[in-house]
């Protein structure tokens, strides 16, 4: 309760501060407002005749019917600013995108977020924003086909920074990202989210259950870690162990289980030798018996064997 009070107090202070006059634009002199072109895109295309411009008109941004898209607004100038700003008197103040431009990344992003407000919802507090990523760090704009929106091509973009995840996805037990059947945004919201690790759902388990709803329950006999956090036992980016378990199962289970009638046991390699093979080690190890490990709905399922 104390934390909540402190937080709300802090938020209130922050709001008041942010609304203070010093953050409101207050130009004393007459601002010089660059003007939009009268001819619209024709004025731009008169000079900018790069072959890639033809592709732009296939892109969603060119849609004339969409009042939210540049095509339905000021066309090129919707994103790059009024043509008047491009004239020498304004020092060529056209808005550029990418790293080879004078436009600060915040201003670049502000242009995109001005329309993409749904994506902007959590952008400001996202890890990508704090890393000063620009929208065009990942997105390709003047094209119908933005690779980062592709199921198969998106991961390459993510791996540029998230390098170790590329290797994890090649482990023998992993979601089929390397095969192009899932991508990073199947689970992660690159533009930020309320959840940890920018997951697409509000919690990690809800994210997993969006495909594995059969494990949601509720069950008569729950298994506490399965109800709380799937990643306590699973490594979703890929593992050396079947079922993407974080460790070999007979050790994983014994990190939490050591009952008097079923104490933690030091299994040795003797248990895998012919003649003395152990069902505690081989096959599915503990899950040879405790199969309903995500929860059992059987009235005799207290130990997840039914």
């Amino acid at each position: 309760m104390t934390l909540r009070t402190a937080l709300f107090g802090l938020l209130a202070v922050g709001l008041l501060w942010s609304g203070a006059p010093r953050f409101v634009a207050a130009d004393d002199g007459e601002p010089v407002t660059p003007e939009y072109s009268e001819a619209g895109a024709d004025d731009c295309l008169g000079c900018h005749q790069e072959p890639s411009m033809a592709e732009f008109f296939r892109s969603p941004h060119a849609a004339v019917s969409d009042p939210r898209a540049p095509g339905g607004q000021h066309q090129c100038e919707s994103c790059h600013g009024p043509l008047g700003a491009h004239l020498p008197m304004h020092g060529d103040a056209v808005v550029g995108f990418g790293t080879e431009t004078h436009t600060p990344v915040d201003e670049q992003n502000a242009v995109c977020l001005g329309c993409h407000q749904d994506e902007a919802a959590h952008w400001a507090s996202s890890a990508h924003a704090s890393e000063d990523l620009g929208c065009v760090s990942c997105h390709t704009i003047h094209t119908q086909h933005d690779p980062v929106l592709s199921l198969t091509e998106e991961p390459e973009q993510c791996y540029e920074c998230h390098k170790k995840e590329r290797g994890q996805m090649h482990r023998p037990y992993a979601h089929p990202v390397r095969l192009g059947k899932m991508n990073c945004s199947t689970c992660h919201a690159a533009h930020g989210s309320p959840a940890d690790a920018a997951l697409i759902e509000v919690t990690l388990n809800e994210t997993c259950w969006s495909c594995h709803a059969e494990k949601r329950g509720p069950f008569v006999f729950e298994h506490a870690p399965a109800s709380e956090d799937c990643s306590l036992c699973h490594e979703p980016h890929g593992s050396s162990h079947p079922n993407m378990l974080t460790r070999t199962p007979h050790l994983l289970c014994q990190q939490c289980h050591s009952e008097r009638d079923h104490p933690s046991t030091r299994f040795t390699s003797t248990g895998i030798e012919e003649g003395s093979r152990s069902g505690f080690l081989l096959g599915r190890a503990c899950m040879n018996c405790h199969s309903n490990v995500h929860g059992s709905n059987h009235p005799s399922g207290a130990t997840q064997t039914r």
Partner: protein, 698 residues
Amino acid sequence: MYRSSHRALLLTFVLGIAPAVAPGSEGRSTESCELCSFPSGWYLDTDFGVAYVSDDSFRFGDYTGTTDSGLYLLGRVAADYWGASGAHWRLEGSDMGLDARRLELRGGLPGRYEFRIGYSALPHNLFESGRTPFRLSGDSLILPPDWQTAPTTTAMGGLNASLSPVEIRTERETLALGLAFTPNRHVEYAVDYRYTDKTGTGIFGGSFLNTSALLPRPVDHRFHTLDAKMSVRTDSWSAQLGYLASIFRNDDQRLRWDNPFTPVLPGAGIGQAALEPDNEFHRVALSGQYRPAAATQLSANVSLGRMTQDDQLLPYSTSTDLQSPLPVQALDAEIDTLNADLRLVSRLGRALRFTASYTLDDRDNQTPVFEWSYRLAETLAAVPRTNTPYDIERRRLRFGADYRLPFRAKLSGGWKRETVERNFSEVDRSEQDEFWAKLKVPLGQRVDVAIKYAFADRDNDGYRQLEGPTGDSLTAQNPLLRKYNLADRERQGLELSIFVRPYDGVDLGLTAETTDDDYTDSVLGLVSANYESIAGDAAFTMLRGVFVAVHGGYDRYRSVQAGSQAFAAPDWRAESEDDSRYAGLSLSLDEAFERFRLHFGYTFSETSAAVQTWALGSADGFPDLTSRLHRFEANLDYDWRDTLVVRLGLLFEDYTVDDWPLDDIGVDGVPRMLSLGNEWLDHDAGIVMLSFRYRSRP
């Protein structure tokens, strides 16, 4: 007027009625744009051809559909239609000759309405090498009529003669529908519906005390997901109202099986387990963002959800002689969820930015508690148990700030407190404080270096023994055990990243990190863990149209745990180490040869997992679990005509795996476990592809 407009929008949002805001009033007609080359009519980009798969391989066909050797049809299509009014429709399909196919039609009038319908199939192959004496009859796995039970698998005389092959595989087929309607630039409605049918065969371990049989269980799952959203946005605020329904249906509520072993007690001849019960989840979510100033954003999200499950319960035992009345016929389980998040982000000037957030995830389990007179292995009357519907409340408070220093340098830091409260748990309340700091320094114009350090300390309010069922001390946990997700822990992490662009067209990147976990109060259970990784890549645009990329990395995860066979102080210790390394090369020659383009790719990945144990001075080790993958890909494209490209493609995989829990066990290799004899198989398999790509002229 401004306020009225906002109120109208807010009212609209609440009532779900579109406001009459003039669409696109700021826009300008492009009808007179002479240089705008808007597409019209049809545009087709499609590949059709054949592929030959060299070898049968279940693993090679996992998620891809190329399981059997032989010829396959290749098919990919991307067809666009642009209408005069601006309408755009696109038909997109891939892998249409394989079991892992996708097809989607979407389109509409952008910014007004959009429609989507799609189908996809995804096979998941696990084991083809399984064999079983069981045959599925209804919801029962039955043994041959002449089956002779025995105390061990090796004594099952007729076993080999009764085995039939069984494939462990599932397939997901998904139908997706979507509709979005945008009456004006401020409001959008969207509905997505997804139906997934997952069918096939899985594995279930059916046990009777000290014996077990791995059973080929049927999988007949159906998933319905409905996601409806309404968004309202203005220049200074936006809000979304959403409803999510997730409905799971299982055609198989139970699995019965004949006990292949000699029953240790009367009544243990047939086993029965509950399979995943039908369940539903419904959630309403409201979120909003408010920007009181250009540099400040306040956002809030609240979700209220309810999970329910009310399947009819199975009896305690399959033996009619051993029945006890159930406390209820259906559990009527219900869990209410509340997820709330409040965030403030503000930039003070150009240099300082701070964030504050508070997140609450509450799982309030309303499921009633009953005493269950359950039976072990269908026969033994055990001490009654009560179910433990878990409540979990997780609260997170975060503050962070970053400050831009001169020369593009940046200093960041933050603090996070996470508090978790649970019931039916050894720890009622745990609290973790995490501090982190990061410095990002550019070294000149071509080098960026970042280093981050984090420290987290998790403490609980006391670890206590859970009270077991009355009169049942046998199920009590060793009091020295500390479950690792509840135990006190100190975690330190260090990350380093370097990005270098020595020349234009050359990019080098390196990241390294290490994390140390010390479970400070754990005597039994996980004691310590360490993770280390290093990964790097380089990309070269060497000449016009020549692109080379290499990448590689190594990581290692080590953990130490202790156990007690004597149910007392630690008398054994185990250390596990998982290593993985990978490397890859990609070469593209797009313009080096007239009319020809070449792409070549190679990926190598290797993993190993080792376990060592110690007890009373004796050491022992298990064989390593290993896997090794070599994958080559090459494509040669020839521009036959302006609109036609011929592609010759090669793909080859060499995969080897050693997995001692499964390798060479056979069906009867473990005396008290009747296995499926399934194991991961190596493969050398390749595909040769010849296809024609047709692209109509723009």
